[in-house]
Subunit: 301 residues, 2 copies
């Protein structure tokens, strides 16, 4: 079975195309990884790259990107509207095929240790890789940003997990974390009553005591006379697409409404849909490596 | 989107391991294809190889295998219990990701023409690539086998689609076809009454006027006190896994029985399960290339 890790490194350059291309090229030139997407935002002065491969290959690619980012980005002169603490600002690792969240967190620790050692860089672990509960939340790690970090990095609650308790003069600090793949999943209802969609969203989202790893809002689809429960599933292994769908359908029924259709926006890991097929067919003993295309990825890995 | 064609060439050698390895090696050495499986049967004196890749690469690999098979197999001295007409006996092409059956049939015609031209070999089209209705059935194409073919190859109804109307002295003839991927799918019932499983199998299979592209038999799972409807789905685009499952479940209900669980034996194309997930979630506008792993195959293709 193929072991596939995704990483979505965010670095603090979105205005100089030559620099962005040079950093992205460090990933595209790495063997064993595929760059699926990348984009720059000049207002944020920040770029985001999506790459996938075997864990070792992904870590090597991200280290190569970090090396180039540190050579060419000086946070003392960096301005942008998006919060950031470092030149290579955030590196999330996402377990896809054949990996657990614990595998991704272990990879995050290894990457953090290596970046700290190689570049004398303070590195924080966040998300599912966090060692302190407060640092599960990335916004807490980034509090004060690059400019404010020097004043607090010596405090016990802000000590980096790896590297010196000293902000890197040009590169700041880096956050390395593990998280589930995010699935953007919307369910449309046959009612124009926005109150119903909002009520369902409040009920099912984690922050309202609903389903774990689910964020949800209610939206109006006025031109269709429908409403939508728009969700982000941040860990489909905790709440599956099917569980989210059925929670919305059940809550809608209780309000006298029903589901018209659903949609997945953007990419989705195979496993998130295969488990729904297996449930629907009552498949016993099904393994993802029975899927021909996943077997092929393995053969190529 | 990746375009993936599968081929499962059958050649008439299953006793001389060095010859089998040499022919298989022609596939494993071909660039752009993956050999997923191969096996030899000494009683049948026959070997079967499963390979997958982009259509062009698969055809090149199969031609390279045919070249080696023709050099090393002499049907005048071949004996085995399995019906055969040629050294490279049968080459089925199966559309997987991003290909239609029409694409696979077109690839079969191209391959048949090239093999006939290169080796002065009579080639028949069968299955979904057949030009004559009778030749859809492979057993009709192989009627009389190698030994009997010389006497009938001149008859209009047995004329090859490509190449001479003359049996190749050592290599006989070859059948090239297109077919759907075969899915082995079993549904277990909570009744020990074999009569019920057999009745359901008779009702749902194509030969009994049931679902297209479905073969089914009823079996006893005595040690569990259950029975099984054991199916081969020969074209999941005509009858999906979900349709077969629900047909069995409905027929069982009518007999007072119900489904315990189901199982897929061996490999299954991703699309066959994704469509069931899409149905179950009422997904609208879903495309297989939204699946991250399938996107990866594309990037590698």
């Amino acid at each position: 079975m193929a072991r596939l890790l995704e990483s979505v490194p965010n670095f603090s350059e979105g205005r100089r195309p030559d620099v962005v291309r040079d950093i992205v090229a460090a990933a595209t030139a790495s063997s064993g990884v595929r760059v699926l997407d990348w984009s720059s935002d000049p207002d944020h002065n920040r770029s985001v790259v999506t790459l996938v491969g075997e864990p070792e290959a992904v870590l090597e690619a991200v280290k190569a990107m970090t090396s180039r980012a540190l050579r060419q980005i000086d946070l003392r002169v960096h301005q942008g509207s998006h919060p950031r603490i470092g030149a290579m600002d955030v590196i999330p690792l996402i377990p896809l095929t054949g990996l657990t969240m614990a595998d991704a967190a272990a990879a995050a620790r290894r990457l953090a240790a290596e970046l700290a050692a190689e570049y004398d860089l303070p590195v924080y672990l966040y998300g599912e890789a966090a060692t302190r509960p407060a640092n599960r939340d990335l916004s807490r790690v980034r509090e004060g940003q690059f400019e404010g970090l020097a004043a607090v990095i010596g405090k016990p609650e802000r000590t980096p997990d790896y590297g010196p308790s000293l902000v890197h003069p040009t590169a700041g600090a880096t956050a390395v974390g593990a998280r589930g793949p995010l699935i953007a999943f919307n369910v449309n209802l046959d009612t124009a009553d926005l109150g119903i969609a909002r009520k369902i969203a409040r009920e099912i989202r984690e922050s309202g005591g609903g389903l774990p790893a689910v964020k949800a809002i209610g939206l109006s689809l006025a031109e269709r006379g429908q409403t939508q429960v728009s969700m982000n599933l941040t860990d489909f292994r905790r709440t599956s697409i099917g569980e989210a769908y059925r929670a919305v359908a059940d809550a809608a029924k209780a309000c006298g409404a029903s589901v018209v259709e659903s949609e997945i926006v953007g990419l989705v890991p195979a496993e998130a849909l295969l488990e729904e097929a297996a449930r629907s067919l009552r498949l016993s003993g099904f393994r993802p490596d029975q899927v021909l295309e996943l077997r092929l990825l393995d053969e190529q890995g």
